[in-house]
């Protein structure tokens, strides 16, 4: 574009710099998170070494901080949540895009978006006072997994829906024209087309489930040192431990909790980045195909 406006005045330049500053804030905050937390996590790593990640004993009075049971609890509850949420989310996404009549689509989407805005502490309250008490589940990995599943379903569903909707109509019609039933059409055109995006959607859900604190803290049972595949056993997860123990922690204990936070931070970031990369690549690919 030909710029005939002459030299930009001071106000114009100032605005530009303000905008740059605002954008740079993101880098600044992330940098500060990494620095401040990394610095505070160092004492416990110096004390425990790699045992921090591999030991199962967590006993602050003895300065023993083995985070393995909490890492296990975080991953295990997130996996339970995925196992429950993924089939349901896929089913809902397919129903909305392939089955539902036009008039039903919007209300359904709204309803599912509403689930996404219910605060996690409200799910936690329901989990601890209703689900765990009246359905005989107690406080356990499973109860935490169910609550997490409820919370990540809307995220996976809405992403899966967007991905599926990028399937070119021509491909679907081609399948139907060949005599495919609806399910065969879904299997032959929709699913292969959206596979990458769906994997990404699931991983974004996983990222969310890993970092969820409050609901898990309320229903997981706060057991120490528990590593078991028994879903009915009480356990603990990294964010729940941080929430429950921070209040009375002394310096080394705080350092251990911050180290837990850093571990959690790294795991979720990695999961999220992989997810975003997969989603973006598959979206770009499908858009390329569609045009």
């Amino acid at each position: 574009m030909l710029d005939l406006r002459g030299k930009s005045d001071t106000a114009d330049r100032a605005f530009r710099w303000i905008a740059i500053g605002a954008a740079g804030l993101v880098l600044l905050i992330l940098g500060m998170i990494a620095l401040s937390m990394g610095d505070r996590a160092r004492p416990v790593i110096a004390e425990m070494g790699f045992d921090f990640f591999s030991s199962t004993r967590w006993s602050p009075p003895d300065t023993l901080y083995g985070a393995l049971p909490f890492i296990w609890g975080t991953l295990y509850t997130a996996l339970i949540a995925l196992a429950l949420a993924v089939p349901v989310s896929l089913g809902v996404a397919l129903f909305i895009t392939q089955v539902a009549p036009r008039w039903l689509k919007k209300p359904l989407i709204y309803m599912i978006d509403l689930v996404a805005v219910v605060p996690s502490v409200v799910f936690g309250l329901w989990g601890v006072l209703v689900l765990s008490q009246h359905f005989g589940l107690g406080r356990s990995f499973l109860t935490a997994g169910i609550i997490l599943a409820v919370m990540i379903t809307p995220i996976i569903t809405s992403l899966a829906r967007e991905v599926i909707e990028t399937t070119p109509v021509a491909e679907k019609e081609a399948a139907l024209a060949l005599g495919a039933t609806r399910w065969e059409m879904i299997r032959a055109s929709v699913l292969p087309h959206s596979k990458g995006g769906l994997v990404g959607a699931v991983m974004l859900g996983l990222g969310r489930a890993l970092g969820e604190t409050i609901a898990a803290a309320l229903v997981i049972g706060s057991a120490l040192g528990q590593i078991t595949p028994n879903p009915f056993a009480p356990g603990n997860s990294m964010p729940a431990v941080i929430a429950n123990e921070w209040g009375e922690a002394d310096d080394m204990h705080k350092s251990a909790l911050i180290a837990l936070a850093v571990t959690l931070f790294v795991i979720t970031i990695v999961v999220n980045l992989i997810a975003t990369a997969i989603v973006q690549r598959s979206m770009r690919k499908s858009r390329g195909k569609a045009t």
Partner: protein, 295 residues
């Protein structure tokens, strides 16, 4: 057996293939039912157990202070409502202007530059930071120096909102047609004036809608407030000083109580919080539906 068969049978026949398809369709419908069960169940519990508490002592539930003696029945979530408004309001004042400016840089100035690419990438990273990590970060940066206050909570919430506002605003700026900008430049307007008087107003409804959704999420957050806000039971209208509280914190602490009265107050607070977040979400929807630029 020996009757004549038409060469082409156009009647629909029940085959394994079509049965399977029907079955899968039914399963998809069942998934919808399954996903609505928790929503209905949670809302049922929240409304049936929260509304009673709320209406029994209306309007005291919204104005009275939180009882010090937690086993005693009776209203009061007033200080928590004020605390939630303070922390969320403070976060909004911080995150929305900065987020919009950041997005303006990404789309209007930096498009294609390496710095913008880095910021965009880091915005994605920041969206995934678990909320408890933000809470700890703000504790280390702010609370350790300045003590408990609603502002600490506002800072943590703002950190969570910032990346969301940036990316939703950037999406909206993409929808503003380029010829609007060109028309403005043609009149000799500077770039900053163009952005402030032409681009942003055009994208405003979408920006507002995105911001409202971010605020709705922030209002319900607990973990970021846990270490920053404190545990007051009386009104504290000051943003920067002294311990405060919030609806979410009250729900969290009362949820594990063994006293029916405290649990009741948790349900009442939950209903209040759900109404607040739903109202924000609905307003956002209306903005999107009525005023937003269509793709």
């Amino acid at each position: 057996m020996s009757e004549l068969r038409p060469a082409l049978d156009l009647r629909r026949k029940r085959t394994w293939r079509s049965t399977k398809s029907t079955l899968m369709t039914v399963l998809m419908g069942a998934a919808v039912a399954v996903v609505l069960i928790p929503l209905v169940a949670v809302m049922w519990s929240v409304i049936s157990r929260g509304a009673g508490v709320m209406l029994q002592s209306f309007p005291d539930f919204f104005t009275a202070e939180i009882p010090l003696v937690s086993r005693r029945p009776g209203p009061g979530m007033g200080p928590a409502i004020v605390g939630t408004l303070l922390a969320t309001g403070g976060a909004t004042l911080l995150a929305v202007p900065l987020g919009v400016l950041g997005a303006v840089y990404l789309h209007e100035y930096g498009a294609g530059s390496k710095f913008a690419g880095a910021v965009r990438f880091m915005t994605t990273v920041m969206t995934g930071v678990p909320s408890i990590v933000m809470g700890l970060f703000v504790y280390l940066m702010w609370t350790m120096r300045f003590g408990y206050s609603a502002f600490g909570g506002a800072l943590a919430l703002a950190c969570l909102m910032l990346p969301v506002v940036i990316s939703s605003t950037e999406q909206m700026l993409k929808l503003v047609p380029n010829n609007l900008r060109e028309a403005s430049y043609a009149l000799g307007t500077t770039k900053s004036r163009t952005i402030l008087t032409v681009v942003l107003p055009a994208a405003l409804p979408g920006i507002v809608s995105g911001a409202l959704l971010a605020i709705a999420r922030a209002a319900g957050e607990t973990a970021p407030l846990l270490f920053a806000v404190g545990a007051a039971s009386t009104y504290n209208p000051h943003l920067f000083t002294e311990a405060n509280t919030s609806l979410s914190l009250q729900i969290f602490s009362n949820a594990t109580s063994s006293f029916v009265a405290a649990q009741d107050r948790a349900w009442g607070a939950a209903l209040t919080l759900v109404m607040l977040t739903f109202a924000l979400t609905l307003t956002a929807r209306i903005f999107t539906a009525r005023f937003a630029l269509k793709r």
